[in-house]
Symmetry: C2
Subunit: 322 residues, 2 copies
């Protein structure tokens, strides 16, 4: 996303238009999107005001439901019943609005870890809303989680919510701290929100050192234990720099929620969805910096604020707000 400095605003109120220039280098990747209107908003929640005749639809009448299916930045949305998840009594639409992407991503990481045969995991930019959820899930499920943060303040925040392994990449002892946490937990998979820079390689190297500490036999190709980093975000949009000092049994790749959900199927998804909506006030609670209207979302200073994607800053859009 571009910063608002490069953007221009014209018109006012509901007619405001924000425009910006796409960098030439990005154009080849956008060929299929040029001149298309792109409705936005992955997830939301609200009250069902009208229903179809099917039993599934009738059962939702008047209920507060969480929703998924895109184009959510709107006051009214027509959806299939199966894309709505009724919320338990006493849960508000605001509490249920961020029910899908972050909670299912956090659960998806733990599920991916299990399915690919790892016994513990690493998470970076770990003080994020998502990272805090992941800590709560791992505590509940008794899973080893190594949190990598970028400041002492973030480390303190996570320790405050009960995180056991927190390592600070700004500390001089980072490499040793990380290796020790990997020895203690046995983590061989990491989920990385940062993407750019040397962190992914540092994690793989530390994993390799941790594994070799208990290795009985030397192999010139490194340990045979597969070490994996999944990049699911791009807080650092610069190149990922991999100094390959971690043997040959390794992988780095993109991780995205939708293909993961396709892989586990409707039944697998159902279980995760149930777990989320039943714990929206605790494990899966989101905290917002501000609630803004659709019009406010296009005001340049507000746009600049949420485009920073800063840890601890999260905006809730209320399409019904004037």
């Amino acid at each position: 996303m571009q910063t608002s400095q490069a953007m221009k605003s014209a018109g006012s109120g509901a007619d405001v238009k924000v425009t910006g220039t796409v960098p030439t280098t990005a154009l080849p990747f956008l060929a299929a999107r040029l001149d298309q209107s792109l409705p936005v908003g992955n997830e939301g929640a609200g009250t069902v005001v009208k229903v179809g005749s099917s039993d599934a639809a009738q059962a939702l009448k008047g209920k507060t439901v969480s929703m998924v299916g895109g184009a959510m930045y709107t006051q009214y949305r027509l959806l299939n019943a199966r894309d709505c998840q009724p919320l338990p009594a006493g849960t508000t639409a605001a509490e249920g609005a961020s029910w899908f992407v972050n909670p299912l991503t956090a659960l998806g990481m733990v599920e991916t870890m299990k399915r690919e045969g790892h016994k513990a995991l690493v998470h970076t930019a770990a003080a994020s809303n998502l990272g805090q959820m992941l800590n709560k899930i791992c505590t509940e499920d008794g899973i080893g989680l190594v949190n990598i943060v970028r400041s002492p303040e973030q480390a303190k925040l996570l320790k405050g919510i009960g995180a056991k392994y927190v390592v600070d990449s700004s500390a001089a002892s980072f490499k040793d701290d990380l290796t020790q946490a990997l020895v203690d937990t046995g983590a061989t998979v990491a989920f990385d929100a940062i993407g750019g820079g040397k962190l992914a390689a540092q994690i793989l190297s530390a994993m390799e050192v941790a594994i070799n500490k208990s290795a009985k036999e030397y192999s010139r190709y490194g340990s045979s234990v597969h070490k994996q980093v999944y990049i699911y975000g791009g807080l650092n949009t610069g190149p990922t720099e991999l100094t390959r000092s971690f043997g040959m049994a390794w992988g780095v790749g993109g991780w995205l929620l939708t293909p993961f959900l396709q892989k586990i199927g409707r039944e697998g998804q159902g279980k995760l969805r149930e777990r989320v909506v039943n714990n929206l006030k605790t494990t899966f609670a989101s905290h917002y910096t501000k609630t803004i209207s659709l019009t406010e979302a296009l005001q340049l200073p507000t746009l600049a604020a949420y485009a920073k994607r800063a840890t601890g800053e999260k905006f809730l859009i209320n399409p019904s707000k004037g």
Copy 2:
């Protein structure tokens, strides 16, 4: 491997000792190997001079066989019958010596491509002995292969043996040439011998552009087609630089022959081994710069020559040579 400049030779003849210093940064990865003797030589061939009483062993008596199992840099080797592969009449030990690593790696790439659902593949440093084998296999099997080479001479060499898609990374039109070859073949997996630098990312980006040329729908996360680069060598030992301009459906990882062979099992291996020994004079022929003795292998100028790992330079060790 260190260059011989940093190495010292002492003694002479069969008693020669070559020593060198391991960089401090590499020491943590070598912890399990320190003070250990490491027998070398992955593969070889020779005449069976003595056999055990089993039928399988008896059947090999007097035969010329190819062998695998390590510690091959020796005049006599005791092996299980199953680690020997009898050569067809008229095939010499020299012809059968490099039967395993390169041929099975080339076949393993094609097999991996098929098993992971890709329909064509990319190979880098493609003018190598291995790369030439891969071209012959792909021509025989009717599989699309994009060869990436680093000079016009190498391109000419490959075209001379019938390669259809050859792109030269030293050409100004490299990016466009590569994209066009990917459009033509539909290749979405690459095997990279180079490892360091920007090439892996260039391949993934070109794959993404090629896929998006035929995309019907825009996704902000890029195409949903999985693009994979397997790094199986390190001709460039510098960091792999991934500018992530290829969506989220991608992976980069190490690829090694042994884990692949474990995955396909003894029966799968048997088929590939049969194919190799029956075509050692054609598809799987190796060409050597020089045949050297074990003593010559430790002479510093010779060591410097093979440590270069240059395309087109390959040494055959004959342990029976005085």
